[in-house]
């Protein structure tokens, strides 16, 4: 199955144990091109840890993560980014002391080493790209504002924008609508529909309405294991899922 070419990301037998506690236990997961996959599950199910493992923040104990045929488990964080994986954190993690423009500019995929950063020049191409992304994430009026003045929802968008400007083939979002108002959530759903056109997206989310709105397929994690997988309807009607999760 893993030989099939269509999978952008194939995770097989992924396990990580912290002092004997298996936070992620033998998880296998396959994500197709241009698929939006949502991972759901109760607290402590290992959702965020799976993202940490993919992006290199946590080292796996065993198992493999292949991204377009490339093994990620041996790579460093920045190498994984260069391979084409972008990750948004649960709490908006942006550069508070810099402006929105500078936040986006730093994520632009150019001048990523010491020399490149020293000689980087803000040319028209960069400015155009930053403007394009800024209007996509509803922040085109706020480019010169320091990022710490943004609202919580705007910070979430800014971080999504910082990922978009990298143009990753796999975008991982950890609870992108947490703490957002209803209208912000709606806008975020629109945004996600727009940005998923040319890439695969892996989302962790608790908000079931939001999940229904965006997900192609859903994976349910429970105690570090995959409990169920499939369309939202299929998962919702799975008795195992109802018992451990939706039934609460």
């Amino acid at each position: 199955m893993s030989q099939q070419k269509d999978f952008v990301l194939s995770i097989e037998g992924l396990t990580v144990s912290f002092d004997g506690f298996k936070a992620v236990n033998d998880v296998s997961l396959y994500i197709e091109e241009e698929e939006i996959r949502v991972i759901i599950g109760p607290n402590g199910a290992g959702k965020t840890t799976v993202l940490d493992l993919i992006c290199g923040k946590t080292q796996s104990t065993s198992g493999s993560i292949k991204f377009k045929g490339k093994e990620l488990t041996k790579l460093k964080e920045h190498e994984i980014v260069h391979a084409g994986v972008g990750r948004k954190f649960q709490n908006p993690s942006i550069y508070e002391d810099l402006t929105v423009f500078e936040n986006l500019e730093l994520s632009y995929p150019k001048g990523k080493n010491v020399w490149g950063a020293l000689t980087f020049s803000r040319d028209q191409k960069v400015i155009d790209k930053v403007n394009e992304i800024a209007s996509m994430i509803f922040l085109d009026e706020m480019l010169d504002n320091p990022a710490n003045l943004l609202s919580h929802g705007q910070k979430q968008w800014l971080e999504i924008g910082m990922l978009l400007i990298q143009d990753p083939e796999l975008l991982m979002l950890d609870e992108p609508v947490a703490g957002m108002s209803v209208s912000e959530r709606k806008k975020t759903a629109e945004l996600l529909q727009k940005i998923t056109k040319d890439r695969s997206v892996l989302v962790i989310e608790h908000d079931m309405h939001f999940v229904e709105e965006i997900a192609d397929r859903v994976t349910v994690l429970h105690q570090g294991k995959v409990l169920s997988e499939g369309s939202m309807e299929k998962v919702q009607s799975d008795p195992k899922v109802i018992e451990v999760y939706l039934g609460h």
């Binding site: 923040k57 010491v114 980087f120 010169d144």
Partner: protein
């Protein structure tokens, strides 16, 4: 959009500030003071090199090194070794049991110049060493720490420990290093007597020009994307990492730059003051250097220079009348900076004086417009 562009260039204020500082250092102070005092000011300014480096690594990058004396010492000792060898020609040292080696080696029963002193016969090598040795040393420390993601307080403590070790090593190896007295009795640089008043004037001006060069280099780094990255790393290191940057390389780079700046300062110290000793590279001087940067404002290049000048000047004044009080005064100063004005003099300036100047300028412009 235009605003972003303008802000990015924004050199107007900086240029004016630089002009004021240059006028002060190159014209006002030399006219105001005799060569004895001017030489002292030159000595203070050698610490400004360190403070500018700290402004980059600590202020921008959040990497607090409590061991910048190490690099000050590398530059200082490199220069001192060269000058000492020149002063220890066989003719000058003919009364020694082994003529042609530095006097302290002779006193310590050495009969031969140690191998690591040999290259310092060459002035070219010495200058090369002043730039490359601190970078190399900072690279080794930085790579060992930052690649393993050691940072913050641990990094500060380790740099301090290294400064302490280096001091102990120098004091212990008296025959090779001159021990606790350091390397003294330096006379000429390529045959040019550095002890004369005219030499002191020239060295003072060379020092000022080098400092301005270092400040411009610092400004360039600060305004580059690398400067913004350092600020970003301070805010959210993980985000930088997951934006595709190898964070440790940037930290190593800026730590190396800070080290090279300090080393240049150290070399100029030796030239102007005429000796180099372990008392300038240990824990206390290293912490003093951090205080210079903190008092000036660790986010301002100009603040760093004024901080070094003012604190050192205060140190001299106080030490002349109440020598035992200085350490207490310095401690109190540091506490005051942290509690009362965390952004240092530069912060006070930008909050209180800059708006006043801006207001005056607007008033003058308005008056002109009315006419």
């Amino acid at each position: 959009m235009l605003q972003t562009k303008l802000k990015d260039l924004a050199p107007k204020n900086d240029l004016i500030n630089l002009a004021i500082l240059a006028a002060l250092l190159l014209i006002v102070l030399p006219l105001l003071f005799d060569i004895f005092r001017l030489n002292l000011i030159g000595k203070y300014l050698t610490f400004a090199f360190v403070a500018v480096g700290l402004m980059l690594s600590w202020g921008l990058g959040g990497i607090l090194s409590l061991g910048q004396g190490i690099f000050f010492g590398i530059g200082g000792y490199a220069m001192a070794m060269f000058l000492k060898l020149e002063a220890s020609s066989p003719e000058n040292t003919s009364i020694q049991s082994t003529p042609g080696i530095p006097d302290f080696m002779d006193w310590n029963q050495l009969t031969e110049l140690p191998w690591f002193w040999e290259p310092f016969h060459s002035f070219g090598f010495t200058v090369f060493a002043i730039f490359v040795l601190p970078a190399l040393f900072a690279y080794i420390i930085g790579a060992a720490m930052f690649k393993r993601r050691v940072g913050g307080v641990y990094f500060a403590i380790i740099t301090q420990a290294i400064a302490a070790i280096l001091t102990i090593l120098i004091i212990g190896q008296q025959g090779f290093t001159g021990g606790v007295n350091g390397i003294t009795d330096l006379r000429t640089l390529l045959g040019w007597d550095i002890r004369t008043d005219s030499a002191k004037y020239i060295l003072y001006f060379v020092n000022v020009f080098l400092l301005i060069g270092v400040m411009i280099a610092a400004q360039y780094i600060r305004k580059s994307k690398l400067g913004r990255l350092l600020v970003a790393m301070r805010d959210s290191e993980d985000r930088v990492r997951f934006s595709g940057y190898d964070v440790s390389n940037f930290k190593i780079f800026i730590f190396c730059i800070a080290g090279v700046f300090s080393s240049i300062g150290g070399a100029m110290f030796t030239l102007q003051v005429g000796f180099m000793s372990p008392s300038l590279i240990g824990i206390v001087p290293s912490i003093e250097m951090v205080i210079f940067a903190a008092v000036g404002g660790n986010l301002s290049i100009f603040g760093a220079v004024y901080g070094a000048l003012i604190v050192n000047w205060a140190k001299t004044i106080l030490s002349e009348s109440y020598p035992e009080l200085w350490l207490f005064a310095m401690g109190a100063l540091f506490i005051a900076v942290v509690l009362a004005f965390p952004k240092g003099l530069a912060g006070l300036y930008s909050v209180h004086i800059q708006p006043w100047i801006d207001k005056k300028i607007v008033e003058i412009q308005n008056k002109k417009a009315k006419k």
